[in-house]
């Protein structure tokens, strides 16, 4: 059964989450870390069957990471952005591999580039970097220019 956007927003409001109407086929939802799994299971149960991607954003001034779970429904044709904020000092979040298997690679990548630990994910081995022992490179406090100058001897010319 195809639901329109308004009824999906109403369903989500009944669950007590904060919903933002963005575009004709896109809504954004702010959720708490503890509520993440419940919320995603609920979305899946009403027909959101596809996890497109997981984003991580580093808000260094606020001391938080934001994770964005992009979920798409082929029946409703609606794209839901599920945003979770976690602390930067203790970046731990439960894994969703049991819900969507493809989350494995997204979680591995985010762990590699942001250092976020996905609790319950058994394989968080690196995908792209080799022998990386420094700060995860996509964090905002990682100075890529300084790193390049120190390791590769890149020259700064003015």
């Amino acid at each position: 059964m195809k639901l329109d956007k308004e009824s999906i927003i109403e369903l989500l409001n009944q669950k007590g989450v904060e919903v933002l109407d963005l575009y004709p086929n896109q809504i954004s939802v702010n959720i708490k870390k503890d509520n993440l799994l419940n919320h995603l299971v609920f979305l899946r149960s009403i027909g959101f069957d596809h996890l497109s991607f997981i984003n991580a954003v580093d808000f260094i001034d606020e001391g938080e990471f934001e994770l964005v779970y992009h979920v798409w429904s082929y029946t409703h044709k609606i794209h839901v952005l599920n945003k979770v904020r976690i602390s930067r000092n203790n970046p731990v979040i439960p894994t969703i591999v049991n819900l969507w298997e493809q989350a494995q690679f997204y979680e591995q990548e985010i762990h590699e580039f942001f250092g976020i630990i996905f609790e319950g994910n058994k394989d968080l081995s690196p995908l792209f970097l080799e022998n990386w022992v420094d700060i995860p490179p996509l964090r905002k406090d990682f100075d890529t220019k300084e790193f390049s100058v120190r390791l590769f001897g890149a020259e700064i010319r003015r």
Binding site: E130, D134, F142, S148
Partner: protein, 198 residues
């Protein structure tokens, strides 16, 4: 046959061997970075470098020249070194574009090296971002002249200065100590290492 005559440095046989050598350069078909797209037009009918006896070769064991076509990431550098060491002598290296000289537009990237000549000896560097097939052909013709005159001997430098090159390679490939890292991130990574065992 004028240029085959013996002189003080080179005998007739040396010149004769190099005369044939320069007319059958086999290049390793290994593509890194964006310069690889310049090779199909160079090899096919419009520019046709096969008329100089240059053909792509699938394995490093049969190749004479290694083309490093663009930026080199750390993972690629590891493979390039393996390939370069597998190639039989005499061997030559052509570096394409500004990325292999000073990093190009990727100069401040955390994952691409800036100067290729620190890790393997480079015979010829082609300018451009990326070099057009004309520039590629010009470089290959210069290489042919260098082979004939006995100048193209950067591979000898690799043997003579093997320790220097190995030191540089090891420094970037096994980043043993954190360069910018703090104790906080180290502890996170130690916990992570523990998780791997399960």
């Amino acid at each position: 046959m004028e240029d085959l005559k013996a002189n003080d440095k080179r005998s007739y046989i040396d010149n004769l061997i190099d005369f044939f050598r320069k007319r059958s350069i086999w290049m390793l078909h290994y593509c890194t970075g964006c310069g690889a797209v310049e090779l199909p037009p160079s090899m096919t009918s419009r520019w046709d470098i096969e008329r100089f006896g240059i053909v792509p070769m699938a394995t490093p064991r049969q190749a004479d020249v290694l083309l490093v076509t663009g930026y080199v990431s750390l993972k690629t550098l590891k493979r390039i070194i393996k390939i370069y060491e597998q190639m039989p002598e005499p061997k030559w290296v052509l570096a394409f574009g500004s990325c292999t000289v000073n990093g190009g537009i990727y100069w401040d990237s955390y994952n691409t090296i800036t100067n290729l000549a620190e890790y393997i000896p480079v015979d010829i560097t082609v300018s451009g971002c990326m070099p057009r097939p004309e520039a590629v052909i010009d470089a290959l013709q210069t290489l042919m002249e260098m082979i004939q005159s006995g100048e193209g001997g950067a591979y000898k430098k690799y043997k003579e200065n093997y320790e220097y090159y190995k030191k540089n390679q090891d420094r970037v490939l096994r980043k043993t100590a954190p360069i910018l890292g703090s104790s906080e991130t180290e502890s996170i990574y130690q916990e992570k290492e523990g998780n791997y065992e399960t």
